[in-house]
C-alpha cells in the first residue's frame, strides 16, 4: 500500500522504538504534525525554543540509554538546534534531529526559510542526510538511528524536504542494516588486552582514569569488578561521573582543572595509567607534556581517532570499553592472584593521605549560604538518588564535586561544549524518560536565563522538574577568572536576574527562596515534596571560588587549594 512520506516517517520512528519527540512546528513540517494526530504511540512535547528540543532529546537519551529525537521546521527552526547538536556531538550522545526543508525544487534558491542545515551541521554531527526521494526515506531513517546509537554514539540530522514528506510510495522497511563503509570495532584485540593486563599487574602505582565511554557502553559493573579485584584507585572525568560509586574507598573524585587534590596527585605519580573511554581533554590534562609524567599508559576507546590524538600511549586498545573490561575480568578469573591487599597497601595509604590532607572543602559561614553547602544538602536530602543536570560554570563544578553520584546516567551535563542553558531543557528530557524520578537542574543565575522559557513547557506537561539556582548575581565562573587572573576587574560579569520566585509563579510553577543557611534544608525539603515544577532561588555568597583549580596550561600538581 502506498503511504505518504509523513506516514512512513512516523512508522519508521515507531519501529525504532521512539515514544517521545521534542519539537516545534512550522510550514514545511505541517504534514508530519498532521500525521502525529493519528499516531497515539508517540507523544510530542512542544518546547518553546528549538535549542531546548535538542538538549531535551540529549537529556532523554542519557537517562534512558535510548536515542533522543527532536523535530523542527526549516530555516530558523533548524539553526536553533545547532548548539544542542554540537553539544551532543562533543559528548557523544545519540540523538536524531529531524529538520523540515523547503521543497526540493526550491533548494538553492534562497527560498523562504531555506538554510543549508546539512552544510551547517556537517562538522558537528556524526553524520547527516538530505532525503531527496521518498523511496529512500525508510532506509535513511533506519541508518540514522543505527549510526546515532552504534560505535561512538553521536547526533545524526535528517533533512526532510516538504515535497518528499508529501509524496507517496510503497515503503520497504529495512530489517537489517549494512553500511559498507561503517563498521565500528567492538571486540578488543585479545593480544593487546593481555599485554595491557600484564603491564597493569606489574604496576606499583596504577590509576584508572575513566570517562564518558564507561557510561555510554554500560560498563560500570565491569569497571567495578575490575577496580575492586585489583584494588586500583579510580578517578574520572566530568563525563564519567557515576561510572564508579562516589562513596567507595577506591574513589578519588574527579580529576583535572577542578579535580580533587588526591586525583591529580595520583595521576601525576602513577606508574601505570589506564584510560578507559576518556580522551585526554585539555581540561583534564592541564599542561600536556607534564601529564602523568611517570606513567606508562593504556588507552581503551572505541574511536581510533581518540587514541594518540593528544598523548602518545604505550598500549592502545580499540574497541568497546565494556568488552575490554570483561576480557580483563575473565583473564583475572583464571589467575591466582597474590595477596592484592598487601601489594597495594602502600599505594592506597598514600592515596588516603592525599585525601585526608586536602579533601574537597569550603569555609562554612553562619550568615551567608555557601553554594557547596546547597549541593551537599541536595545530595543528602535525595539520598544521592536524584538525576542531576547542570548548567555551565561554577554550578556545574560544584555539582560535580559535592554530589556523590552512585550510578551511571545520573548526571547530565554539557561537558565538551559547555553550553549554558543546557541543564534545564535536559532536565525536562530526563523527566520525560523517568517520570517518577526526582530530577534537579543545578543552575546558575546566568545560565538559567538562557532557556528559562521552558518553564511553561514543564508546567504544561506536568513535568515536576526542580531547579536549584545558586544565585550569586554574577556570571560566576568568568568572575572567578577575572578575580584570579585579571585583578578583579569584573567586566560584564555582574548581572541582574528577575525575581525567580515571582517568575516561577507567573509560569504556574512554585517558587521558593533561601537567603540564610538555615533556610536551605527546609526549602529543599519543601521542593522535594512538591509534585510540581519548582524553582529554588538560593542567594549564595557572590564571590565564592571553585577550588581546587589548576590554572589553564599548568601541570596538574600545581593546584590552587581551598
Amino acid at each position: 500500500m502506498k503511504l505518504t512520506g509523513a506516514k512512513i516517517l512516523l512508522e519508521c520512528l515507531k519501529r525504532e522504538g521512539v515514544k517521545h519527540i521534542f519539537g516545534y512546528p512550522g510550514g514545511v513540517v505541517l504534514d508530519i504534525y498532521d500525521e502525529l494526530t493519528r499516531c497515539p504511540e508517540i507523544r510530542h512535547i512542544l518546547v518553546r525554543h528549538e535549542q531546548a528540543a535538542a538538549h531535551a532529546a540529549d537529556g532523554y537519551a542519557r537517562a534512558s540509554a535510548k536515542v533522543g529525537v527532536a523535530l523542527v521546521t526549516s530555516g530558523p527552526g533548524a539553526t536553533n538546534t545547532v548548539t544542542g547538536i554540537a553539544s551532543a556531538y562533543m559528548d557523544s550522545i545519540p540523538i536524531v534531529v529531524l529538520t523540515g526543508q523547503v521543497p526540493t525544487a526550491l533548494i538553492g534558491n534562497d527560498a523562504f526559510q531555506e538554510v543549508d542545515i546539512v552544510g551547517i551541521t556537517r562538522p558537528c554531527t556524526k553524520h547527516n542526510y538530505l532525503v531527496k526521494d521518498v523511496r529512500q526515506l525508510a532506509q535513511t531513517i533506519h541508518e540514522a538511528f543505527h549510526i546515532a546509537r552504534s560505535g561512538r554514539p553521536g547526533p545524526v540530522l535528517v533533512d526532510l524536504p516538504k515535497d518528499v514528506i508529501q509524496a507517496s510510495t510503497v515503503p520497504k522497511f529495512p530489517e537489517s542494516i549494512k553500511i559498507r563503509s561503517y563498521n565500528p570495532t567492538y571486540h578488543c584485540n585479545p593480544r593487546q588486552v593481555k599485554r595491557a593486563l600484564d603491564l597493569i599487574l606489574a604496576a606499583k602505582k596504577p590509576v584508572l582514569y575513566t570517562g564518558g565511554g564507561i557510561i555510554l557502553s554500560n560498563a560500570a559493573e565491569d569497571l567495578f569488578q575490575f577496580a575492586t579485584s585489583l584494588q586500583i584507585p579510580v578517578t574520572s572525568t566530568l563525563m564519567g561521573l557515576g561510572g564508579f560509586p562516589g562513596d567507595h574507598p577506591l574513589w578519588m573524585g574527579m580529576l583535572g582543572m577542578h579535580g580533587t587534590y588526591c586525583a591529580n596527585m595520583a595521576v601525576s605519580q602513577a606508574d601505570v595509567l589506564i584510560a578507559v573511554g576518556a580522551r585526554f581533554d585539555d581540561r583534564v590534562t592541564g599542561k600536556l607534556s607534564e601529564f602523568a609524567p611517570h606513567a606508562k599508559t593504556v588507552h581503551i576507546d572505541i574511536d581510533p581517532s581518540s587514541i594518540s590524538k593528544n598523548v602518545v600511549v604505550d598500549i592502545p586498545i580499540v574497541g568497546d570499553c565494556r568488552d575490554a573490561l570483561k576480557q580483563f575480568n575473565d583473564l583475572l578469573a583464571q589467575m591466582t592472584l597474590e595477596d592484592i591487599a598487601a601489594i597495594r597497601s602502600q599505594w592506597l595509604a598514600t592515596i588516603r593521605d592525599w585525601q585526608e590532607k586536602h579533601p574537597l572543602t569550603y569555609t562554612w559561614s553562619d550568615t551567608t549560604i555557601k553554594p557547596q553547602y546547597v549541593v551537599e544538602k541536595l545530595w543528602e536530602l535525595t539520598q544521592g538518588e536524584a538525576y542531576i543536570t547542570t548548567e555551565v560554570g561554577q554550578n556545574q563544578m560544584w555539582a560535580a564535586q559535592f554530589y556523590k553520584f552512585k550510578r551511571p546516567r545520573q548526571l547530565m551535563t554539557s561537558g565538551g561544549l559547555g553550553v549554558m542553558g543546557y541543564g534545564f531543557p535536559a532536565a525536562m528530557g530526563v523527566q520525560v524518560a523517568k517520570p517518577d524520578a526526582t530530577v534537579i537542574d543545578i543552575a546558575g543565575d546566568g545560565s538559567i536565563q538562557m532557556n528559562i522559557q521552558e518553564m511553561i513547557t514543564v508546567v504544561e506537561n506536568d513535568l515536576p522538574v526542580k531547579v536549584a539556582i545558586l544565585n550569586n548575581s554574577f556570571l560566576g565562573m568568568v568572575r572567578q577568572w577575572q578575580q584570579l587572573f585579571y585583578e578583579r576587574r569584573y567586566s560584564a560579569t555582574p548581572l541582574k536576574a528577575p525575581d525567580f520566585v515571582k517568575l516561577a509563579e507567573a509560569y504556574g510553577a512554585v517558587g521558593l527562596r533561601a537567603t540564610k543557611p538555615e533556610e536551605v534544608e527546609p526549602v529543599i525539603k519543601e521542593a522535594l515534596h512538591t509534585p510540581k515544577p519548582v524553582i529554588m532561588d538560593f542567594r549564595v555568597e557572590p564571590e565564592e571560588c571553585v577550588l581546587p583549580m589548576v590554572p589553564a596550561g599548568k601541570p596538574m600538581h600545581e593546584m590552587l587549594l581551598a
Binding site: P123, K126, R180, S181, D303, P304, S305, S308
Partner: protein, 162 residues
C-alpha cells in the same frame, strides 16, 4: 618542511562527500596541498587523491579522521608503499621570434606536447611528477609565462614485481 604524504581515499560517489572531506581538513587545521577526484570503475565509488603535509602524529590523525567519516570506504597512505605519481600542467608561454625555437627545444627535452599555437605563444602540456613540472616551469619562466593551470597529484600503487 614537514613531510608530504599522498593519500588515496575511496568514497561513496554521492553529493556532499567532497565537502565532508575538505571540511574535515579546514575544521581540524590540516593542510591540503592538492586534491584530485573522479569516479572509479565502480560508478558508486569515487577516488580522491590528496597531498597533505604534517608530522607522523598529524598524518595518523588525518587518516583516522578520514576513516571516521561515514562515506569514506578506504584510506591508503601511498607514501608508505611503492607508488607512481603524476601531475599535469597546461602552460601558455610567450614565444616570439627569438624564443620560439628555444621553447620548442625545452618542450622536446621534457616530452611536453604542444596543444595550441599562436603567432606569439605556445600552449604546452607537461606531464610528470611534482619535481619535473617545477623544473620545466622554471626553465620556461625566463621566456615569460602568460598563464598556468595545474592538476593536483594523481598516484597509484606499483604492482608487485614477483
Amino acid at each position: 618542511m614537514e613531510p608530504r604524504h599522498t593519500i588515496s581515499v575511496w568514497v561513496d560517489n554521492i553529493p556532499g562527500v567532497l565537502s565532508r572531506v575538505t571540511g574535515l581538513f579546514s575544521g581540524r587545521g590540516f593542510n591540503i596541498e592538492s586534491l584530485c577526484v573522479a569516479e572509479t570503475m565502480d560508478p558508486e565509488v569515487s577516488r580522491i587523491t590528496l597531498v597533505t603535509t604534517g608530522d607522523e602524529q598529524i598524518i595518523e590523525q588525518v587518516i583516522k579522521q578520514l576513516r571516521k567519516l561515514i562515506n569514506v570506504i578506504k584510506v591508503v597512505d601511498l607514501t608508505t608503499v611503492e607508488h607512481v605519481e603524476r601531475e599535469m600542467a597546461l602552460v601558455k608561454v610567450k614565444a616570439e621570434d627569438r624564443s620560439r625555437a628555444e621553447v620548442l627545444r625545452i618542450a622536446d627535452i621534457f616530452r611536453c606536447r604542444v596543444v595550441d599555437v599562436s603567432p606569439n605563444s605556445y600552449t604546452l602540456e607537461i606531464t610528470g611528477n611534482h619535481e619535473k613540472i617545477k623544473a620545466v616551469l622554471d626553465l620556461l619562466k625566463v621566456h615569460g609565462i602568460h598563464e598556468v593551470v595545474r592538476t593536483g597529484t594523481l598516484a597509484i600503487q606499483r604492482s608487485k614485481k614477483d
